[in-house]
Amino acid sequence: MLEIKGLRKIYYGKLGGVEALNGADLTVGPGEIIGLFGENGAGKTTLLKSILGFQSYEGKVLLDGEKINRGNIGRLSFATCEHSFFPNLTPLSHREFYRMHFGTFRDKRFEALMDFFELPMRKVLKSYSTGQKNQFEVILALCQGADYILMDEPFAGNDIFNREDFYKVLLGILEPQETIILSTHLIEEVERFVGRAVLLRKGRIVGDVTTLELEEQGRSLKEYIMEIYGYRPDRVNKALGDLTDGGY
């Protein structure tokens, strides 16, 4: 169980402090697939990076009751659109590195996924296309042997590969205790894949609903999000009206 209580993070810049996170509370159980949504700057990345201990924060992050430390950090893995692999190394070298540092590396899954996405094992990562790099980044996060797999917009960038297949493969290989937290803008795409949607807005969690609940209410994820955000559908019409009234 991953518990986040009262998470606050303030970045200090030229214009004073920016509250990237303002009291986020979230509890994530094992086996969940959670979509993390929110506009840019809502705090999604800050939330994930705080959980992983990349930066200081106020509040608590507990994994099965313990703070995140060297003993349990291996139970968290991370995939980011900025990519966290070594560009000069090959996938094989990465496997060695992961095996050396994380005793839980999933060899068979690694081979199966590399095979499925037809990624060459012996080419250095910097020679990969952007799409392939994104895939490899996600593969590493999935094969570390972590229980909580955090992904920060892993499919951003110029992607061509079929993400639908990817979600299906994931659903097939994930084990009951593996949890995914996926931060993404691709709402419609992940709607069926995720079981729970968490919405962030201006550093706060403003929505937390299971997709089953949404289905029962007959609402799509997009509708739910727009509603929470106070999106007014008549905005466009009004703007057009204002723009065309003058005859220009």
Binding site: G53, I73, T80, S84, F86, H101
Partner: protein, 180 residues
């Protein structure tokens, strides 16, 4: 399982064990372990050798000074070289003052490299995000520092031997009674 097969398996197992042990030893000599993963250390190593070489090259002035220090001990009478009375040669330390300065660029370079290695984790990709998630302690620190430290250590050893050699030559060249 037939005995022949059993023996084959057993000997293969021992071979694998030996290969693994040998591999571990070569790790110590493997420069890759001293630098961040995938870091191209060749140019750095070559620069170190170059800086070191320049330093050593400049240190050869010692021989010039030694020659002068030795010459000063003699005077020429009747076209013969004779040791002057009460002639004391310059001390060895005197002959090599300022040599520390020859190696300062090397030390500065290696210190700067330690910082440069850290920035490697932010270049092209953010591999720092992987490094900071590792259960083992000090991996980042070691990867930044071990390479340059090894370089400094080796330079120190070679220089120690070199100046020992210089001292040996000094003692050989300067007649015993003139040694300070």
């Amino acid at each position: 399982m037939r005995d022949a097969d059993r023996r084959k398996l057993y000997s293969r197992g021992r071979f694998i064990k030996k290969a693994r042990a040998a591999g571990k030893l070569t790790d110590l000599w493997n420069p890759e372990k001293l630098f961040p993963p995938g870091y191209e250390y060749e140019w750095e190593r070559n620069s170190v050798v170059l800086l070191f070489g320049i330093g050593v090259g400049l240190s050869l002035q010692f021989f010039g000074r030694l020659y002068q220090a030795a010459e000063v001990l003699y005077e020429y009478t009747d076209r013969r070289r004779v040791l002057r009375e009460d002639a004391i040669a310059a001390s060895f330390g005197h002959l090599v003052t300022g040599h520390w300065g020859l190696y300062v660029p090397l030390v500065l370079f290696l210190t700067a490299m330690m910082i440069y290695h850290y920035s490697y984790y932010y270049r092209v990709t953010r591999s720092i995000y992987l490094m900071r998630r590792l259960p083992r302690r000090g991996v980042v620190f070691k990867s930044c520092v071990l390479g340059p430290l090894t370089g400094l250590g080796m330079a120190a050893v070679v220089l120690a031997l070199l100046y020992l050699l210089y001292y040996g030559i000094y003692v050989l060249v300067i007649p015993g009674e003139c040694l300070p």
